[in-house]
Structure formats: C-alpha cells, structure tokens
C-alpha cells in the first residue's frame, strides 16, 4: 500500500489526540479524587449511587429524629420519676396521719402539704421541651392541666416513624397518667380527697386513700418503665443505624471515588504514552528524500 505524506501526518495527529484525551481524563480523575464524573462513566453505578445517597439521607434523618425524640422521652421519664416521688411522699404523710396519735392540728398542717404535692403533680403534668408539652397527647401547644388539675389535653398520643417500619410513641396521655381516664388510678382526685379528709380530721377518709396511693405509685412506675423501654429501643436502633451509615459511606465511596493508587498509576501511564507519541512524531520527521537526493 502506498503511504503518502498526508496519511502519515493524519495518523500521527490521531494518536496524539487520543493520548492527549486519555492523559487529560487521568489528570481529572486524579485531581478530583472522583472517578464517577458523569453518568456515562458508569451508568449502572450512577443509578446505584442515586440509591445509596438517598439511603444515607434517610439514615441521617432517622438518627436526627432519634436524637430529638430521645430528648423528649428522657424528659418524660424524669417527670414520671418525680411524679412517683411526689406520690410516695403523699403516701408517707397519709400513713402517718392515719395514726390516731396525730392531732387535728397536725392533720390540718399536713393537708397544706398535700395540696402543695397535688400542685407539683399538676406542674409535672405540664412538663415540656421547648414549647412542646409532653403529657397532652396531641395538644402539645398548651398546658394539658389547668390550675385546678382538670385535664384539657387529648388521648391521641403522637408517634414518630424512625426507620423502616419502626415507630415510637413520643407524647403521653396525661389524663391516663394522672387522672385515671384509661383504667389507672385517678391520683389527682385521690390527693384532693386526701387533703379534704385531712382538713376534716377524718382518719377513715385518710386511710381510705392509702390503697389508691399505692396503686398510683405502681402505676407511675409502670409508665416510667414503658418510656424507659422506648428509650432502649431508640438506643438499639441508633447503634444499628450507625453501623449502616458506615456501610453506606463505604458503598458510596466505592461507586464514586477513585482508588488513589489506581488513579496515580493511570496518570503516569497516560503521561508516558503521550510523551512517547510525541517522540515518535519528532523522530519520524528526520528522513527527507529531497535532502538525501541532494536536490
């Protein structure tokens, strides 16, 4: 086959262009650290990358939610503990005052304390984080217990979905906790009755509340355990999500990032290839027939 001058130069140009393009791409990958620069670099990988990124976002949001829900549950748990302490004190007083040894005057003084104890139960029932009330069901915007202890919240407790199908109940129904609306003891009413009995120096009346107070203490302890169990659930889920997050980060990196060693060796290889084409081009210029023929 005849080889003509135009052909030789066209061929050299083609090779130069290709090596240059390869070299430029290797540089871009090495400099950016990313090998998936456009979907065409790895179409299937690009689609997977969309999925992995979305999952990472889900996990991050779930962990944020776990954190904020955890705070609320923690506050609720503390409040329930304090409520239990209040009732224990009330029971102590009731036992003491049901002893015939105590005087009417004593009972009158204790009545005052019981009223205070009732008030602190109401205050605890109005616990909140920020402006979110914890014991009002879905009525988180206003205090669920009014000054006299009437429950104005509702029974629709709020639950939050965390991850996959895991949900956790966040708010509590104050009415069920303190006002006996769902089968538990009505401790607010009980304290009210206790105070009345003490003021009236009614030993039988005082003794009559002991049972309710006992059940109240158990009930509050139960509620506290339930919240504690939810917090444990959050903890486990957070651990699991933490592990999952690490895996997802790895997956994303595998899909998108350039392997440092590979990128560098590619850089060197393409640079060498380009340089050798340049040398070939220069070397091919030597032979000139006109010179050789002396014309």
């Amino acid at each position: 086959m005849r080889v003509t001058a135009a052909q030789v130069y066209r061929s050299q140009l083609l090779h130069l262009r290709r090596r240059r393009t390869e070299s430029a791409r290797a540089q871009e990958v090495a400099a950016s650290g990313v090998r998936l620069l456009a979907p065409s670099d790895d179409p299937v990988g690009a689609a997977r990358s969309v999925r992995v990124r979305a999952m990472r976002g889900d996990v991050e949001t779930a962990r944020d939610n776990i954190e904020s829900v955890g705070r609320e549950l923690g506050r609720s748990e503390t409040a329930l503990g304090s409520m239990g302490d209040v009732l224990s004190r009330a029971r102590e007083l009731a036992v003491a005052m049901s002893n015939p040894v105590a005087s009417a005057g004593d009972r009158g003084a204790v009545a005052q304390e019981v009223v205070q104890l009732r008030q602190s139960l109401i205050d605890l029932g109005n616990s909140r984080i920020g402006d979110r009330r914890l014991f009002g069901g879905s009525q988180t915007g206003t205090n669920p217990f009014d000054a006299s202890g009437t429950y104005t919240g509702d029974a629709s407790t709020v639950a939050v979905g965390l991850y996959a199908s895991a949900t956790v109940q966040v708010t509590l129904d104050g009415g069920a906790v303190l006002a006996g609306t769902s089968g538990g003891p009505n401790v607010l009413e009980s304290l009210d009755k206790l105070a009345t009995a003490l003021t009236a120096d009614d030993i039988d009346g005082v003794r009559g509340e002991l049972d309710t107070l006992d059940r109240g203490i158990d009930w509050l302890s139960q509620q506290r355990s339930l919240v504690g169990a939810r917090m444990k659930l959050l903890d486990n889920l957070d651990n699991h999500l933490g592990t999952l997050e690490v895996q997802l980060v790895d997956q994303q990196s595998e899909l998108e990032d350039a392997d440092v060693v590979e990128a560098y060796s590619e850089l060197v290889r393409t640079k060498t290839a380009f340089e050798s084409v340049l040398q070939v081009t220069a070397a091919a210029r030597g032979a000139d027939i006109f010179q050789l023929l002396g014309i």
Partner: protein, 465 residues
C-alpha cells in the same frame, strides 16, 4: 533535413519533459491540499514518419494530464464522512446535556427529591417547630429550582440544535451553488478535451463537506457534470443548484425543504442518522423530547401525589385542602413546577397533622408525606420516585457512553477510509522526488541532443562555406 528532425525531436522532448516537470511541481505544491489527486502526465510517442522506407519516430508528446481516482474508495470516504459527522455531532450534544443535567453524579433532582422527603421525616418528629417547617419550604423550593433548571437545559439544547439546522442549511446551499458553478466550468473546459483535474478536486471537496452534513449520493454525467442528491432529493443538476430552505413550523422547529419546479419536498424525514444535520434532528426531535417526557412525568407525579396527601392534612393555622405544589399539566410539568403561594410564605400552612382534632402536635400527615418516598408511584406503579430517577440517570449515562464509543469508532473508520483512498490517489513525496530527478535528467539529455544538433549544423555549414 533530418537534422531538423533531430532538433524537432529534441524540442518535443524539452516541451514534454518540462510539462511533466510542471505536473510534478503541481503535485508537490498540492501535497497537503485536502482531496488532491496525484496527477501524471501521459507521455506518448509523437507519431512516425516514413523516410525512404525507414519508419522514424518523431519524438514525444505530452498528451494528457490525468489524475488518480478510485471511485469505490471515494464512495467509502463519503459514507464514513456521513457516519462520522453524525456520531461526532451527536456525542458533542449529549456530552453537554449529560454534564448539565446530571451535575456530576450528585444528580441534582434526585438529591433534592431525597432531601424533600427527609424534611418530611424531620417534620414528623417536630411538627410544631418553625425551623423544621421552614426547612420543608426551603427543600421544596430547591426541588422546584432543580426541575425548572433541568427543563431549561433541555430546551436550550433543543434550541441550539434547531439553530444548527438553520446554519447547516445555509452551508448546504453555499456548497450546492459552488458545485453547480464548478459543474459549469468543468463541462466547458472538458468539452475541448482533457480533464479539469484541479476543478474536479474542488468539486469533490465540496461534496465531501456536504456528506458531513447529511447523506449524499452523487453520480457523474456523460458531460462531466455531477448530479448531487441530498437526503434523496436532487440538490444539484448540471449548473442548477436548488435551494434548501429551513421553515419554521407551528412549534418553532425548523423543517427542511427543497423546491423542485412548483413542488416543495419536506426532506426532514429522509435525512436519517447521517451527518451533522441528522444529529441535530435526532437531538431536537428524539433525544430531548424523550428526556423531557421523563422529567415531566416525574415532576407531575411528585406534584400530584404530594398534593393529594398534603391537602388531606391540616396546617397549624387550621387550614386544610392546601396544595404544597402548584398543580401542573403533564406537558411542561418540570418547567412550571413551583411551590404554591399559599405555603411559600406561611410555614403554618404546612399540613403535618392528620386531623384538626390532633392539632397542634399531630404528625400523621407528615408521616404520610414521608412515606411517599417508598411508595411505588412511578412507571405504572412499579417504581419509587428515586428508583425512577436512578433509571433516568442510568439511561442517559448509557446513551452518552454509547455515543462516545460511536464517536471513537467512526473516527477510526473514517481515518481508515481516508487512508485507503489516499493510498490510491494522494501525493507521495518520494515518488515526486524521483520524478523530479527523472524528468530533469531527461530534460538535460534533450538539451544535450539540441546542442549536439546545433554543432552538427555548424559542421554542415562550415563544409558549405
């Protein structure tokens, strides 16, 4: 008398060799001219004379100058030019599209969608905090921006392709006119005999350029003129060039037409996947609409599904039946996708609660909104938003990757076709150098013959004196 014959033979040699040298010089001068075909001078004996029973030759004649030509190789080149022109223009268009749409692999739209649904999840855990409500609005607006931008990019690319078609039509006309003019000149020159080689090279180059624009068929007529068919319709016949016009249709898209007498032919459908015009048409009429349809489908379904859940819920301000996004029509959904005015300025209108009774702490509607991310809402109920978008990205990436591979492949094929043709027809400087030596020596020898004949004359005359 025969001395004059010697002189005459020498003279013919000088003329012929100098013509041959002239051709060699022409070849060398045009060694790098694109499409140039190596010319050779045809040297023939200049007849015989009978001199008293002796048949003596009368020297040499440079009869014709002919150019090397291989019609099959040239056809291959034209075919490859069409394919390479298409592949190159197509790859370039898709490259720009891919980079702009996908924004790396961050996949702006996909990312924004995921972030919107994350904000719904966060709202579920914090239905009353203003900060989280503002976040929902912010993310919704970012998503709208991403959709709008995607539609804009696609429209811009289609508009660019449209402009390219108009520009190409202009070039086609200019080339058609020059082919027609060259036809006239060639016919005139060749009528007197011989081949108008250099003009033919110019004409052939014009046809090659046409091939890069769309599919071209050419056939040479008996009188030397070239009939050129462009996308199956006569563009040049003899010295007449028809005009290709680009006419805007109802949608503002340019359609290509050739007029033939009183009839006009719409040649747009017959351009096919050849040449830059073919690539521009594919981009404008097939690639962009396909991608736009996918984006519109995604945008419309997002708006419809989110609005359905959102309007069923209750905002902090007690409102219900409020859309989060403005309702959009299926066509142009991505371009007109926007956050509804009712929500944009009032975070309290965001419906996190499932009923008015559970305000303000209710979050079941926020949960329902978040759950849309995992619902099979796209592709006839078989894909989630994110998996639909993932497939969109993969298809775009696949189409782009194929386009780049074709670009590389056709580039190599074109080079191979050019090499095969040039092997037959291009100038080899080594050959020309040897020819220079050959003809120069022959010229020198002829000059020697003349000077010898001159000496013989002198000798003759000196006898007679």
């Amino acid at each position: 008398m025969s001395l004059f014959a010697i002189l005459h033979s020498g003279a013919t040699a000088l003329t012929a060799q100098s013509r041959a040298l002239q051709t060699t010089a022409n070849n060398v001068a045009n060694a790098e001219t694109p499409g140039y075909r190596r010319q050779t001078t045809g040297l023939h004996t200049a007849g015989t004379l009978n001199r008293s029973g002796l048949l003596l030759g009368q020297g040499v004649r440079a009869s014709t100058v002919s150019a090397a030509y291989d019609s099959f190789a040239q056809e291959q080149v034209l075919a490859q030019l069409g394919e390479e022109g298409y592949a190159r223009a197509h790859a370039s268009g898709i490259r720009a599209l891919e980079v702009a749409l996908a924004e790396g692999t961050d996949g702006a739209i996909g990312q924004r969608l995921a972030e919107l649904f994350d904000s719904f999840s966060a709202l579920e855990a914090n239905p009353t905090t203003p900060g989280h409500r503002l976040e929902v609005i912010g993310r919704a607006q970012l998503l709208a921006g991403a959709f709008n931008r995607g539609a804009e990019i696609l429209d811009a690319r289609a508009a660019e392709a449209n402009t390219a078609i108009g520009d190409a039509a202009g070039r086609v006309n200019a080339l058609g006119r020059s082919v027609a003019a060259l036809n006239a000149e060639i016919v005139e020159l060749e009528a007197a005999g011989g081949e108008a080689n250099d003009l033919r090279v110019q004409r052939s180059n014009a046809v090659e350029e046409l091939s890069g624009l769309a599919s071209v068929n050419s056939s040479e007529q008996a009188d030397g003129s070239l009939t050129v068919l462009f996308a199956g319709h006569h563009l040049v016949e003899g010295h007449v060039a028809r005009t290709l016009t680009a006419v805007e249709d109802a949608a503002g898209d340019l359609q290509l037409r050739i007029s033939h007498g009183t009839s006009t032919f719409d040649i747009t459908p017959s351009v096919g996947n050849y040449g830059e015009i073919g690539a521009a048409l594919t981009m404008r009429d097939s690639v962009v609409p396909g991608l736009m349809a996918d984006l519109d489908s995604l945008a419309e379904t997002v708006a419809v599904e989110v609005n359905a859940v959102h309007s069923a819920g209750f905002g902090l301000d007690g409102s219900t039946g409020v859309n989060l996004f403005d309702p959009v029509a299926a066509s142009g959904a991505a371009a007109s996708f926007s956050v509804s005015a009712a929500v944009a300025t009032s975070p309290d209108a965001i419906a996190a609660s499932g009923s008015s009774a559970t305000l303000p702490g209710g979050n079941t509607n926020a949960a329902a909104l978040a759950a849309l991310a995992d619902t099979l809402t796209m592709a006839g109920g078989t894909r989630t938003f994110e998996s639909f978008y993932g497939q969109f990205v993969a298809e775009l990436g696949g189409a782009a990757s194929t386009a780049y591979a074709n670009e590389a492949r056709t580039g190599i094929q074109l080079d191979a076709a050019l090499d095969a043709r040039d092997a037959k027809t291009a100038v080899s400087l080594e050959e020309e150098a040897i020819d220079l030596v050959r003809f120069q020596e022959a010229y020198q020898a002829a000059a020697r013959v003349i000077s010898t004949a001159n000496e013989l004359f002198d000798d003759l005359l000196s006898i007679v004196r």
